[in-house]
Symmetry: C2
Subunit: 186 residues, 2 copies
Amino acid sequence: MRRLRVFESISIDGYFCDAHGDMQWAHAGADDPEFISWVGGNASGGGELLFGRVTYDHMRAWWTTLQAAAAMPVVAKGMNAATKWVASRSLQGAGGLDWSGARLLDGDAVAAVRALKQSGGPGITLLGSGSLAAQLGAAGLVDEYQLVIVPVALGGGRTIFSGERKLALQHSRTFKNGRVVVTYAA
Amino acid sequence: MRRLRVFESISIDGYFCDAHGDMQWAHAGADDPEFISWVGGNASGGGELLFGRVTYDHMRAWWTTLQAAAAMPVVAKGMNAATKWVASRSLQGAGGLDWSGARLLDGDAVAAVRALKQSGGPGITLLGSGSLAAQLGAAGLVDEYQLVIVPVALGGGRTIFSGERKLALQHSRTFKNGRVVVTYAA
């Protein structure tokens, strides 16, 4: 069984996006060199990636640019080279996936990810895609949560958890940009 | 101007109580000796305390027992000796405050705490009392948030923040019981 890690930026009050769906707050201060280096190391682990369709569109729009390659070369290289699974009912066929390494998971996302985990291969990291993270967590398919706590309170928004669940802290790390990364086993 | 610190246990998804108002989840694993020692040091700083009425009732019911004195002697001594301000419209007069050092803040809580901060004296720490924390935060009266992130996701509940606000991480510390304490300046 492949392991599935959810990697998510959240606010101090636990939201992955604000009440309007905005995630711009998560980018402030993300240009800290030590933080970028850590993200780069994290992104070059050789695993596969998983997105919902909205996050896929945002990721493709950014990581395929020259600006991204200049700003974060290690991460950009990893993102463009990696196998990227995209859970979507609206993108049918390869025509919708114009990014190298992108592969469609169509139909029911929970069933598709369960089958993907049961197939052979490396670990899978879900980036962003908070709605998909919530669905997969509720279905018991998430093995690890790696959460970047951004020093912003939002006052409202959407969360990746549904229902009460104890987790086990594995690791934490603090960056000069005020982010605290906490890793929990589910 | 006295400084006001909010000290709160929150879930990974940012709630101080679950959807039913329950806070029992915050106690699991709290018997870690290193954590107890830290709480003790934190509680013996010579400051004054602030509660809402519900938290006051819970605190008084526990910290005045022999069990509390045996389980956490340093904290119990500090809690019983400290000046404890209680924001309440329903407790009128000293008759309702049957705990040594407890003093009533009646009338509007925000106005009362603003006046308290402007009076001379040591720093003030609000413990628990999530509704009061939210009111005071919205009024700009909170100077510092010290949050104990308990390794539990709740999936719903109430939060101490309203509206978007950037905070500055001052410090973080991780305990073997899976709690991560993060301190932010407001």
